[in-house]
């Protein structure tokens, strides 16, 4: 998030797109409720009706995968009415003229045809967002999990920059991170192309710095993303997979393909706290520890590094994850000898500019938000203050709308989108083992619009088959008008009715995120 979570309470307008916030980030939803209470305008754009929409000032249901068109339409209106902030654009950005050209192609009437959102609503969103004193954007996987994921995010950045709704308190662009520490995992270089703090492996000075710090020679080549690893196994270029706290047999698209890859690998190691469907296919399982069994830090969605303290001893044969990694590295010939998570944090702050001022002593209490470059720095509440962007000037990208990789046809006439439900988390490794949560939602349910269900004689509680080009599953149907006609929705938490057997592996060309949010599907009643 460019903002802090608390700032959302004091915003005049919040534009929520592709985030079912009450289900997936309920504590952030609280801030949106409070903003509403204080009179802020709430805009909700999501292909499904969502709870937050019930309190929204504008609620629209755009067609799946049409976010770029919708955002361009909103920006077209902003240009047209002169609601953009030319001063901000001139002083702090570059490339706006090219965007202006592209926006000409997106008048509200045309956008309305693509997105299914009325021209009036497009104008209203443009007005509320652009003309409020402080507006903030909240987005999540509904924006990113598309073949146009990067385009979608860039479009949101365009919108924020052209209206000057970034770089001031309570204005910004806020991707909501799911896991308590997914931000931390990325900060630590858990991505193919970067070291800690997003320092690129391709930059020679960065490479030299880490070579000196670690006393080893390092590669300057960008590594593989998860989908590339899976296809690498199939083509023979990848021999072994070491999977930590991840369950691709449930979370990754096209499960049949993932299964083939895991079975084809010469060695699969899984480190987790439970025996997951992925661990079932492993040659070696290493028991790690849960949050309650370890010391360390989590970095949350607002870039806040927080201490976590061990409450109970590791269960059974489980060991601290850092100790397992340290031992394996040592046995491979690169000796590591940290004596505690704190020792590791000392190294992190010595090689990571944005963590430079972070020490365990300073993390007592409320923690620190990066960037925190030195011991005197009190951390950063919001990013890009005064329009100072990381690269200097904010870069505009002209973006044209592209249809999803797979579209409906005669054989697969419905759209399928996937997501989460409030009672479960991701692949259910933890939440489906919690009795209270499992009682709340014990099984997968397919949401079907009554009009589509009626044509096939499907009623709530009926079993149905869903088939795509990748696979076929059986699931129980529930009729609801919260989903639009010709779209069906199902959560992906449930391995026995695994939505990802169906989903598409088509990737965003830049960041390689799979298009989990859109594919074409056939629906039949189980006879």
């Amino acid at each position: 998030m460019t903002n802090s979570i608390d700032e959302l309470e004091n915003t005049d307008c919040i534009f929520v797109i592709g985030s079912n916030t009450t289900s997936s980030h309920p504590i952030i939803a609280t801030r949106i409720f409070r903003a509403k209470q204080k009179g802020a305008k709430i805009i909700v754009a999501d292909p499904r009706k969502i709870q937050l929409g019930m309190l929204a000032d504008v609620e629209v249901q755009q067609n799946l995968g049409t976010d770029v068109a919708l955002l361009n339409g909103i920006m077209h209106v902003i240009m047209d009415r002169g609601w953009h902030k030319q001063e901000f654009i001139d002083a702090h950005t570059e490339g706006f003229d090219a965007v202006k050209e592209v926006l000409k192609n997106y008048p509200p009437d045309k956008v309305s045809e693509i997105t299914g959102v009325s021209a009036d609503d497009i104008v209203k969103i443009a007005e509320y967002y652009a003309t409020s004193e402080a507006s903030s954007i909240v987005y999540c996987m509904g924006i990113t999990q598309h073949t146009t994921g990067v385009d979608n995010v860039k479009s949101l950045a365009n919108l924020a920059m052209m209206t000057g709704q970034i770089g001031r308190e309570n204005t910004g662009v806020n991707p909501l991170r799911g896991q308590n520490n997914v931000q931390g995992a990325c900060d630590m270089g858990g991505l193919p192309g970067v070291y800690t703090g997003y320092q690129a492996v391709t930059v020679p000075e960065v490479q030299k710095k880490f070579e000196a710090a670690w006393g080893a020679s390092l590669s300057n080549k960008v590594g593989l993303t998860i989908p590339e690893m899976m296809s690498g196994v199939m083509s023979g270029s990848v021999k072994a997979l070491y999977i930590l706290g991840e369950n691709p047999m449930v979370s990754d698209p096209d499960t049949h393909h993932v299964e083939k890859a895991l079975k084809a690998a010469e060695l699969v190691i899984v480190q987790d706290i439970f025996r997951t469907p992925t661990a079932e296919l492993a040659h070696v399982v290493l028991p790690g520890v849960s949050f309650a069994e370890k010391d360390g830090t989590f970095s949350n969605t607002e870039r806040r590094v927080l201490k976590v303290r061990q409450a109970v001893a590791p269960m059974g044969d489980a060991r601290h994850d850092w100790e397992i990694i340290q031992d394996i590295s040592t046995r491979f010939g690169y000796a590591m000898h940290y004596d505690s998570p704190e020792a590791i944090m000392k190294e992190i702050s010595s090689v990571t500019p944005s963590y430079g001022g972070i020490t365990y002593a300073r993390l007592e209490g409320d923690g620190l938000q990066w960037p925190c470059p030195n011991a005197e720095h009190s951390g950063t509440k919001f990013l890009h203050k005064g329009g100072a962007f990381t690269r200097g000037k904010g870069m505009f990208f002209p973006i044209e709308y592209k249809a999803p990789a797979e579209v409906v046809d005669e054989e697969y006439p419905l759209w399928l989108t996937t997501g989460r439900v409030f009672a479960h988390y991701h692949t259910g490794t933890m939440t489906r083992r919690a009795e209270a949560l499992n009682c709340e939602i014990p099984e997968a349910i397919l949401e079907v619009n009554p009009a589509d269900a009626g044509k096939l004689g499907i009623r709530t509680g009926d079993w149905v088959y869903l088939t795509t080009r990748r696979g076929k599953i059986a699931v129980k149907a529930q009729l609801t008008d919260w989903i639009k006609e010709s779209i069906v929705f199902m959560p992906f938490h449930f391995v026995e009715a695994n939505a990802n057997v169906l989903t598409n592996t088509a990737l965003d060309p830049i960041c390689k995120i799979p298009e989990l949010k859109v594919c074409a599907v056939k629906l039949e009643k189980v006879q």
Partner: protein, 260 residues
Amino acid sequence: MSENIKTKVAELLSSGQIKGFLGLRSNEGHIGPYLFTNEAELDSLVVGDWKNRGDSRYPLNKCLINIACKYPEDTFGVLVRGCDERGLKALYTWNQLNPNKVVAVGIACPQELADACECLKPYPDECVDDEKAKACEQKAVSSIDALAIADRFALWIREFTKCVKCYGCRDVCPMCFCKECSVGSDDLIHTGQLPPEMPIFHLTRAVHMIGRCIDCGLCNEACPADIPLRTLYKKVADIIDKEFQYRPGYTDAKSPLNVL
């Protein structure tokens, strides 16, 4: 404040009147419930942010039920404010705790907290010190009562719309001791929905607060959606008081609805 409590608890422990004292202690900067079993530990006893609602208030009575179940022969002390003491009395009438096995050590709340809670009795019968805040007017209830019925209904529906079904209101409630809970039963209220069925989810809980809710306000403080649950349950308590002249925690009598 905490010095007087420590003196009192030290007496109780050293004389053998109690096996342990359930209070709050500070640990690595966090305040939480703790069972003190010897005098030496009392250094870490605290009353938390005594003057405000917030992170340092816990349903100690609820913890005490678990401890009492495990050690039914022993007597335990427990830190109580006015609301907690009402909770003890109500729990005695519901046979969830044995009054002969509990020794309450009372503290009175300051006026600012009493005002924030709109508390009718912000002090227990006996306190370790004498200063007592005054009972407060029930402004939150009367302001909603003043609305036209349609507006009142709209207000509550708007509030219930925000519910993320975390069950925090139930889980923190010192009076929620049922083994099976109606609001979590799919036969009565559909599970798996967000927001939960309106208004039946919240009204079922409100009705179940009859003869129970002692107006501690922990539900209100736990609610991540800021739903003014306390105001709702205060109103329920007012109705029962008017119709049956009964307010839980102010008497040793059983709830009039116990016989139904």
